[in-house]
């Protein structure tokens, strides 16, 4: 059914701007993806150090997401449900890691982990090292990824009417029981989305990691190193693989969450 014969100029403006935005994002990525030959891609993947760094990237990001999930879920629930003095302040603290330039994050965490600081001293005694370790990488990735998990999960909790929880309590369920039987089943999709966002943010981190741990080498650091040492031709295949693998992982998570939805 056609109602409008001639579209408003504003309509064409929206179409134009949308194509500019989409093109701006896609063009460089597509260009980079199609540049390396299959031979290059194959050889790159056979390189053990590449495989190791991509795997390191994936599992440190996964760990960061897991930590964010564990500590961020109760925190997000608290923010979604309770009003308390200084709540705005706490909410803006959560957003800080998004705003701070990435190298500063690395420097800040290193400053805390140094032996001159009591916390760094304590960690040293227990045997926790930040500088140049997987622990350090995970710490940095959690720092930059947390806001994405907390904010997404919080939005999910906020979307659930508090009345459902009230009814559950009045029927005899404790706060924990209510969370497990009402809140979680209704919010898990947002929580999963939060995990995906957090992971995505972590896997793309470079600036903070390169300061805390140049080695062991995560994929973005390796891409950077190859770029500065050998030029784009050697860095592109690694980048393509990292992108493809991340894409597949996120797609799988999405599909998993959607197919579950259709079952119920």
């Amino acid at each position: 059914m056609k109602i409008e014969k001639s579209k408003d100029p504003f309509f064409w403006l929206t179409v134009f701007c949308s194509s500019v935005v989409v093109g701006f994002i896609l063009l460089p990525l597509v260009q980079m993806t199609v540049q390396p030959s299959f031979q290059d891609l194959k050889e790159t993947l056979q390189d053990q150090s590449v495989r190791r760094s991509i795997w390191l990237s994936i599992y440190t990001s996964g760990l960061a997401a897991l930590i964010s999930f564990t500590f961020g879920t109760p925190f997000a629930y608290l923010l979604a449900r309770k009003d308390f003095p200084g709540k705005r302040f706490v909410e803006s603290i959560i957003d800080l890691p998004i705003m701070i330039p990435h190298p500063i994050v690395g420097i800040a965490i290193l400053g805390l982990a140094g032996k001159n600081h009591w916390l760094g001293h304590l960690m040293h005694q227990v045997g926790i090292q930040i500088m140049g370790t997987v622990t350090g990488i995970v710490a940095v990735l959690t720092f930059v990824g947390l806001p994405f998990y907390v904010n997404t999960a919080k939005a999910g909790f906020e979307a659930i009417p508090v009345r459902l929880e009230n009814v559950s309590r009045s029927l005899g369920a404790s706060l924990t029981g209510t969370f497990l039987r009402v809140t979680f089943p209704l919010a898990w999709r947002s929580m999963l989305l939060g995990i995906i966002m957090c992971c995505a943010r972590a896997i793309s981190e470079f600036g903070a990691v390169v300061i805390v741990a140049y080695h062991p080498m995560i994929a973005p650091v390796m891409i950077y190193e190859r770029f500065t040492a050998y030029g784009p031709k050697y860095s592109q295949p690694v980048a393509v693989w990292l992108m493809l693998i991340s894409l597949v992982l996120f797609l799988l998570l999405r599909i998993f969450s959607v197919s579950k939805e259709n079952q119920t």
Partner: protein, 345 residues
């Protein structure tokens, strides 16, 4: 039995003040008031899901003021039903059973009875998503009653329903209350619902109780101008009293008896004001000449405003009566008010 003593809830922009209320065991009590009067807040305070500032709530003699909601044994049915969207109808109804250790067989019978009584047999395995408003409300009722609470709180259960479902649920509520013997406390802004369902009622306005009493008494003898208007007395006037007469502006209304002291208002229902074209023969009391100011179509009836002296009366006429009287605006008429129809407070 619910006893509420000097209950106070202070929020940033609203306060419930010094609520004192006592609801008998097995009673159908309604809490009546306009939107924003604090009715739902009070209900949620009794359920324990909003914190109170001070005061005391007792149920069956037990102080529950500091108990968490799950330990109170009080169920709540919200206006929007608040069904768990991820659970089937039956799982909604049986949600709370695991927290109440009772005889398995009797619980099963009780739930079956509720399902049958509320006509939900065919819906038990359905998702709650496609239920009609009335069906949702019945599921919410079954879920709340399944745990055999000592008190059932109802938050405007009829307001969001289509008119045909509303009558259905209203009848179900009345019948259920008679059959289960549980104390019902219902919040509503509709006095008609209170008339049909309630045994006693409290009128709440801006966080304060204006009047508590049996429904018929509140209906017939409102204690404040607010209550008078709320129960449908369209004519509320401040008055001075002289013997058995009430002076309203320049009119003197004959009363049926000597008014008690400290009375400041008279109120008359619109349906108790009679409009005639000519002054009727005989010596009627309280007959005043007046002019028709306005005729408003209210659907099933007409509301006619008549100015007599300086006072504007609002009367009610059926369509046929209005047609017979032929009352254009500005027409001279007479109005008559029986002395017994004048409520003094």
């Amino acid at each position: 039995m619910i006893e509420i003593e000097t209950l106070r809830i202070r929020l940033s922009d609203f306060a419930l003040q010094d609520i004192d209320l006592s609801i008998q065991d097995g009673e159908f009590f309604t809490l009546l008031g306009p939107t924003g009067a604090g009715k739902t807040l009070m209900l949620e305070a009794i359920a324990g899901v909003v914190p109170i500032t001070s005061g005391c709530i007792r149920v069956n003699g037990r102080d529950i003021t500091d108990l968490s909601p799950e330990k109170r044994g009080i169920s709540i049915v919200y206006q929007d039903c608040a069904l768990f969207p991820h659970l089937s109808v039956l799982k909604n109804i049986t949600y709370g059973l695991r927290y109440h250790k009772t005889d398995r067989q009797s619980t099963k019978e009780w739930v079956e009875w509720l399902v049958e009584r509320l006509g939900l047999e065919r819906l038990t395995h359905r998702s709650t998503f496609y239920l009609s408003g009335g069906e949702k409300q019945r599921v919410a009722l079954a879920r709340a009653l399944a745990v055999n609470p000592s008190v059932l709180l109802l938050d405007e259960p009829l307001s969001a329903l289509d008119p045909n479902f509303r009558e259905d649920i209203r009848n179900i509520l009345k019948r259920l209350h008679q059959e289960v013997g549980i104390t019902f406390l219902m919040v509503t802004h509709d006095f008609a619902e209170t008339l049909f369902l309630g045994q006693r009622t409290a009128i709440l306005n801006r966080g304060k109780i204006e009047q508590i009493g049996p429904v018929s008494e509140v209906f017939q003898r409102p204690a404040t101008p607010f209550v008078a208007e709320f129960v449908g007395m369209k004519n509320v006037f401040p008055a001075a009293f002289k013997d058995t007469a009430a002076v309203v502006d320049d009119l003197e209304l004959r009363l049926s008896g000597l008014p008690a002291r400290d009375k400041h208002y008279v109120a008359i229902r619109a349906e108790d004001i009679v409009i005639t074209k000519e002054r009727l023969p005989g010596n009627g009391t309280n007959v005043f000449p007046g002019k028709v100011l306005e005729v408003i179509d209210r659907g099933f009836y007409y509301e006619v405003s008549v100015r007599a002296g300086k006072v504007v009366f609002r009367a009610m006429l059926t369509k046929s009566a209005l047609f017979e009287l032929k009352l254009p605006e500005g027409k001279d008429v007479h109005i008559e008010v029986r002395s017994s129809a004048i409520h003094v407070f």
